[in-house]
């Protein structure tokens, strides 16, 4: 009998111990965040299974995104060229500023709806969202830092050690974890609440010029700037002559195929009123100059897109209506969402006063 009792006590002790350890782990486990696909949108291409969103992972990514120490001189965070009030592009800049008074060679694209995007950069050279931060981090005219130094800075910081542990279970800091955390944050940058979206959801209706513009859009623009993401993610030559100082051949740099010369990714038009200047090198400072390019300015080349071989006929009236429609793609709740702003600061994303039309 005595022996039985002893066994009971030991078993109880064991169970309590195991339960305590298990409960402890569950308590410290990162809290999952569900990624919601807006109604009517395609399924995302990002593999969330390999990098599940968690509150702690997103918080770490946001911290990293806004940390200037990721750059060589401490001045350039991801957020310095990807500003929320510009839909995460560099507001009002054709090219962005980088380390040591340098300029980038291309216009910083807005960052949103990245879960639906397979390839990155204007030339599609980067094949995975997790890899994307490596390019600006190490480019000498951007953040100009080495990955080794970035790792050393992060490892030396107690706060980061705690944040990596909270997000990934232990204090290991490596390139993979850093980039997965940044991916988690930027994946949450979903812009799906513009007036256009509200109209689609039946919560609002277009005024006449917007509706007329939408009808024209569906006829003349939609085949490349395909709804609901307003891009088909293809690479096209839209008759942009190379800037002689940049000599950017575009997609050809990646594929080595002359047929890809001067092809660039079709950019999304969401938040387009905020993402000026336009074009891969930011040569167009206003929407009207983009329209002017399509109807007059284009240099039609042998590999200019078949849809644009005769340029794009647009009347002044059509340009007016299209502009009205494009304005409905501005998602103010995205541009001012405090969850996307620098950690710990009030959102400063108030609309700058000058609007370039």
């Amino acid at each position: 009998m005595r022996f039985c009792k002893t066994i009971w006590v030991v078993v109880l002790l064991l169970v309590t111990g195991i339960a305590w350890v298990a409960a402890d782990n569950a308590y410290f486990r990162p809290r999952p965040v569900k990624f919601t696909v807006p109604a009517g949108w395609p399924q995302p291409v990002y593999d969330f299974k390999s990098n599940p969103l968690t509150q702690e992972g997103i918080a770490l990514g946001r911290e990293l995104f806004y940390d200037g120490r990721l750059s060589k001189d401490g001045n350039f965070s991801c957020g310095s060229c990807h500003q929320q009030f510009g839909a995460f592009d560099t507001y009002d800049h054709n090219l962005s500023h980088g380390f040591d008074n340098s300029f980038t060679t291309r216009n910083a694209p807005g960052l949103f709806n990245l879960a639906w995007q397979k390839e990155f950069m204007w030339d599609g050279g980067i094949n995975h969202l997790d890899l994307q931060p490596l390019a600006p981090l190490t480019a000498p005219n951007e953040m100009a830092e080495t990955l080794e130094n970035v790792m050393a800075k992060l490892k030396a910081d107690k706060k980061y050690r705690a944040m990596f542990k909270a997000a990934f279970g232990d204090e290991t800091i490596n390139t993979q974890r850093m980039n997965k955390a940044i991916s988690q944050f930027v994946l949450t940058l979903v812009s799906s609440n513009s007036k256009y979206d509200k109209v689609k959801r039946g919560e609002a209706s277009f005024i006449l010029p917007e509706q007329l513009g939408y009808d024209i859009f569906k006829k003349k623009c939609n085949s490349c700037h395909t709804e609901p993401l307003f891009t088909d993610f293809s690479y096209r030559n839209t008759g942009l002559k190379a800037d002689p100082y940049l000599n950017d051949v575009g997609r050809m740099k990646i594929t080595g195929n002359p047929a890809d010369s001067l092809k660039f990714r079709v950019p999304s038009l969401r938040n387009v009123a905020r993402t000026f200047p336009y074009g891969h090198d930011g040569r167009f400072f206003s929407l009207s100059s983009v329209f002017e390019h399509y109807r007059n300015g284009m240099t039609v080349m042998h590999n200019t897109d078949s849809l644009l071989q005769h340029k794009l006929a647009l009347s002044n009236f059509e340009i007016g209506q299209l502009t009205a429609f494009l304005y409905t793609l501005t998602d103010s709740s995205f541009l001012t969402n405090p969850r996307f702003a620098p950690p710990g600061s009030e959102n400063i994303g108030k609309a700058p006063v000058d609007i370039h039309l």
Binding site: H128, T175, Q176, G256
Partner: protein, 244 residues
């Protein structure tokens, strides 16, 4: 003995028992693949000048390459010991990186096969860790993909700044693929193998099916035709120098 002491004793025994079950009976036998760099008949010393197979004088400063998916065949040539999804970065500058330990029983072996480079799946699956961590400088950030092998140095034939020739050979897409499967037969024998010494001859980079003249091509930094030609050359750089 009071009751408390008994509990302690019981728990102690239990702990002892558990600790026994966790132990391996014995350490398994290990075969070591040891890579060493040579240039023709000379052992390579970084920074020292040699004349390569095409007569160019070169001083190598950096020489590294990926070794992955190792397969070892048994005495009758069957693929018995497979090490898939294991990646090693062999670096002439780091002697620890030059030996690869594989758990294989003490047996006679016939053939060593491995991929020089990184398979395409790892090139399209985001950021990797360990030997594949992009911080080792073997990853192109602007055109995603691994540099399979890298050879850098100085040569008077290189008419570029610093007279530096730099061959960063990569590319994983079908036509541009620079990963190469290397097959090396061990000398016939019946003795169990402990160590396989593999020589990597830099001369093979320059003189193979393609003649890589530094004066003509001092630089290779992107996937494409030149990279593939160099890859076809370096495919032949390995040989078994000795087996123990």
């Amino acid at each position: 003995m009071n009751r408390f002491a008994k509990y302690i004793a019981f728990t102690g025994c239990l702990a002892l028992l558990l600790s026994f079950t966790g132990k391996h009976p014995q350490e398994p036998h290990v075969v070591t693949l040891r890579f060493h760099s040579v240039i023709g008949n000379h052992s390579l010393e970084l920074g020292r000048s040699y004349v390569n197979a095409l007569g160019d004088t070169i001083a190598v400063q950096r020489f590294k390459y990926y070794v992955s998916n190792i397969i070892i065949t048994d005495a009758v040539g069957k693929d018995v010991y497979l090490f898939p999804r294991r990646y090693y970065l062999v670096d002439a500058e780091d002697s620890a990186s030059q030996s690869i330990q594989l758990k294989i029983p003490a047996l006679p072996l016939k053939q060593v096969r491995f991929t020089l480079g990184v398979d395409s799946i790892r090139n399209v699956s985001g950021v990797q860790t360990g030997a594949l961590d992009p911080l080792h400088g073997m990853f192109w950030t602007w055109n995603s993909g691994y540099i399979m092998a890298k050879l850098e140095g100085v040569s008077s034939s290189a008419h570029v700044p610093g007279q530096r020739f730099t061959y960063h050979v990569g590319g994983f897409k079908a036509a541009d693929n620079t990963a190469r499967v290397i097959t090396l037969d061990l000398p016939p024998g019946t003795a169990p193998v402990d160590e396989i010494n593999i020589a990597a001859d830099i001369n093979a980079w320059f003189k193979g099916g393609f003649l890589l003249k530094i004066g003509e091509h001092p630089i290779c930094h992107s996937p494409g035709g030149l990279a593939v030609q160099i890859a076809d050359n370096y495919k032949g750089m390995f040989s078994i120098s000795s087996v123990r």
